[in-house]
Symmetry: C2
Subunit: 530 residues, 2 copies
């Protein structure tokens, strides 16, 4: 299959394929700086209205589908994505500059994620079934029969990220969890990889048709500029928003949602510098090793991860010089690599220049680029006082730029952590002799981050049940949830209580004959199916 | 115990008792219109700062307490409230005009609620423990050990409601659920019942001391005007807000919270007119009976419930005239009763006048009052077209004012429901012959309300596991939760993931030796303790 021939650049509105009323645009191959065929249509107000109308229309029928139907739908999407074959890989590589192996891995992650959510839908404990049986003889007042389940919020707008063209994009975690919850999805394609978006979008639309679902369960809108996103979030039929991207973008959408006549939840995963703490015993035992591992994680994928370790916090002590020396050496040797698109490259350059102009001292730059849009890694160092005084030093520089803070002692390390904003992750490099110090630090780390790692690196976010990819503001707009892992389904649900219902009128899963098939809480006691 | 002697009117800031820098005020006995001794101190910026500082300071130690200690603390609060004895009942009656039996019932509800949450804390499934064990041999990449638990958000500001001086006030559902989650609480006392607040506040402070908890776990601030609430919600150390009150008040606090450098969740339970649908068979079988039961619920406690049934939606048909006739008769006979305070009484009068001036026709007024601040019930009727055209008809009139909408048929009933904003409750009066119609309506009702009742009345909110006292905007600011019932604990928690932790550094409940003692999800499978 040749993706060049196959792509039409049309909007996917329900089952329809059409051009939009807004400006069309092309993707750019960041490795060459050249525009890629074809042109992609921009969605205007009429197309946004149409997609939202179809989503609202589809909501009732979609949320009424059986859990098994919804699980099959998610699995069908996964298969359809695999069926695109190499055309998807090729197009994604061309649009993002990411290596083929990385995109192949990301495809596996994306279809695995859809299948994981299929399992979650079938398992059903997310419905949170609860029954408090009637107590007709209770004094002074009888208790009525009360039953609770969670239902989906309604149509969800999903904003794909640029840095994971599959796993955080059209069929990424936000889409998978919203569809799993029973919410139709309107995706705003990321304009940096519109062809990849179209291919995946068509796979989802094909799955909608094959599963006999109402067409409005999924639409894909493309466009450049901020109008499309703002209009989508403002649409009264949209009931929640999933977003992964910049802090400015996430805050703008959250502000837009708060201004609505009916405010809605916005799950924006925004910015994080993912501090790494080098604990004394680990540093003494393996300073140089940590230095090279740190640079490997920092420069992986040109540093284009939400969880890129942009900050190292270490006390001067045995091993510190070895760490710094090795990190500097490794970074100086790090080859340049192509960034996702010219905009990200420019922002990276500006971020590094800002650091150079400020209170941080440049330790090393990586290898210079040999083509357009190549990220030249950078490593800076500063002290505690300068870091705490200069808030710009703690702003995310998206890309392979790292900052080491040298602290006099653990108390200074704590002061640095306390000065930080909310983070997606904090990592401890530690040995057994650091246990006591780590235990002391843990409460502070928990208040600052959604995930805490020991002796790993934060890049690499497992898609599983116990993952949290979220954290205190401004790493996300809502710390009560995660955008990766199965707990993400909770974001799109709300509880409803049914009081004194005749059995025949109850939703299926709450009826006497069916209750035993699911996890449920009877009078407060959790009971397994069967 | 004589509450008159005992009350000091001081602020309760941690373990301290002090006067505040803002204007002092008195409660008013609504039954007489007279001010009641003593004067209560108003909290100014210094006192707010102090309470928040103590709460922030207490957070670490409080959240580290064992579940059993926290449960004991909640139970101790319950006992201390009971120990106040009749002084509490007398003061609450004097400050609110509510009957003694009602206040006694509310006390039982309040202490029952605290004890229910003690059980929830001990049961522990709210911690949402999850473990995805390491898969060191997985290809292409090994999986690290991942463990998840939920931790409390931080200090919570609670705004007591006027209409439940015990159950939704200082030691009410918001406070109980926040303390259960591990969050210190700063309560803003409702200025309509400051003496009741002081008595309960002192009971909580005594429990804090008796349980050996840090004093900042609880503070009680009083004051009139909006400055205190705004300052509290704006304080950077406050991490969530619980509020029950007016729409204007809730929206103002939500706007304040959204403006913060770090926005925080606001759980505001605001306004609802709690529609009651009269289905044809029920109406035909027992129109008159429904008419008198409706008025009994409408006028209960002068209609001062969030769940007061302010709207009846019925199709003209057999039984309708009987319903309307009986409702009119019953309402005309309904005695006036004292409202909670002069402000609520004035707002009620204005609301009834607004209805009289609009598109609704007055059917009856209840008995005239014989003293100050007495609610004279009111019943109006209008048609579908007028109701949908005039948005003011669907605004809450807090008090015993009801509006009947006469529809031509079920389609018109649906149109009326579709035109409504989000509600706390919707009630169906129905018989078996209405089942099919109810099943058809149910999806729409679920989208509009947090609780749906059959053949009951929405007043009377059970405190249990399956209750939802919440609903789509603007009945609450956040439909994803409830402010009554045990699910309320979820509002004050966020997940944290621990990756590749040595067992010794893990939080207790996630350690290998302890995991088996709790509900946990292993590789996605829910497992019971033991």
């Amino acid at each position: 299959m040749d993706s060049m021939i196959d792509l039409t650049g049309e909007l996917l509105i329900g089952a329809g394929r059409q051009d939009g009323g807004a400006k069309s645009f092309q993707a750019i191959n960041p490795a060459t700086g050249q525009a890629i065929e074809p042109f992609f249509s921009g969605a205007g107000p009429a197309e946004i209205d149409q997609a939202c109308a179809l989503a609202a229309e589809a909501f009732g029928a979609y949320r009424a589908t059986s859990r098994d139907m919804r699980a099959n739908f998610l699995e069908t999407i996964a298969t359809k994505i695999e069926d695109i074959g190499d055309a998807l890989i090729e197009r994604a590589v061309e649009e993002t500059g990411l290596p083929k192996a990385r995109i192949e891995g990301e495809r596996a992650r994306t279809v695995g994620q859809l299948r994981l959510f299929a399992g979650v839908v079938r398992e059903g404990s997310w419905m949170e079934l609860r029954v408090d049986p009637a107590l007709p003889d209770r004094k002074p007042l009888p208790r009525p029969d009360l039953r609770l389940r969670k239902i989906p919020l309604g149509p969800v707008a999903v904003f794909g990220a640029s840095n994971f063209p599959l796993a955080f994009s059209v069929a990424g975690g936000d889409t998978a969890s919203a569809l799993a919850a029973g919410c139709p999805v309107v995706v705003k394609a990321h304009p940096a990889h519109p062809g990849t978006c179209e291919l995946v979008g068509r796979a989802i639309a094909a799955a909608v048709a094959e599963c006999g679902l109402p067409e409005g369960v999924f639409s894909l809108l493309s466009g450049v500029g901020n109008e499309l996103g703002a209009a989508l979030v403002s649409d009264a039929r949209i009931k929640a928003v999933g977003f992964t991207g910049s802090r400015a973008g996430g805050l703008a959408l959250a502000a837009q949602a708060a201004k609505r006549a009916e405010p809605i939840p916005v799950y924006a995963e925004m910015s994080s510098i993912n501090p790494v703490l080098l604990m004394p015993a680990a540093l003494a035992a393996r300073g140089a090793e940590i230095g090279s591992a740190f640079v490997a994680s920092l420069t992986l994928g040109a540093g284009q991860f939400c969880t890129n370790p942009g900050l190292v916090i270490a006390a001067r002590g045995p091993g510190f010089d070895k760490f710094l020396h090795q990190a500097t050496e490794s970074l100086a040797a790090a080859p340049a690599s192509t960034m996702l698109h010219p905009g990200i490259f420019k922002a990276y350059q500006a971020g590094v220049e800002r650091l150079q102009a400020g209170h941080a001292k440049l330790l090393a730059r990586g290898q210079e680029g040999t083509g357009p849009n190549q990220c030249q890694a950078a490593l800076f160092v500063t002290d505690t006082e300068s870091f705490i005084a200069d808030k710009t030093l703690s702003e995310e520089v998206f890309g392979a730029s790292g900052l080491v803070i040298t602290c006099a002692d653990q108390r200074e390390m704590e002061a640095v952590i306390a000065s930080l904003e909310g983070q997606l992750t904090i990592t401890l490099q530690m040995d057994a002799a650091d246990n006591a110090a780590a235990i002391t630090l843990l409460p502070l780390l928990e208040e600052k981050a959604g995930r805490i790692l020991v002796n790993g690196w934060p890049t690499g976010v497992e898609v599983s049940h116990a993952m949290v990819h979220g954290g205190p503001f401004p790493s996300t707009s809502d710390s009560r949830s995660t955008s990766v892992g199965t707990l993400a389904i909770e974001r799109f649900l709300r509880p409803v209580c049914y009081q004194n219902f005749p059995d025949a009128v109850l939703p299926d899963e709450l009826r006497e004959g069916h209750l035993g098939q699911s996890w449920r809480r009877m009078d407060g006691r959790l009971l397994p199916p069967g």
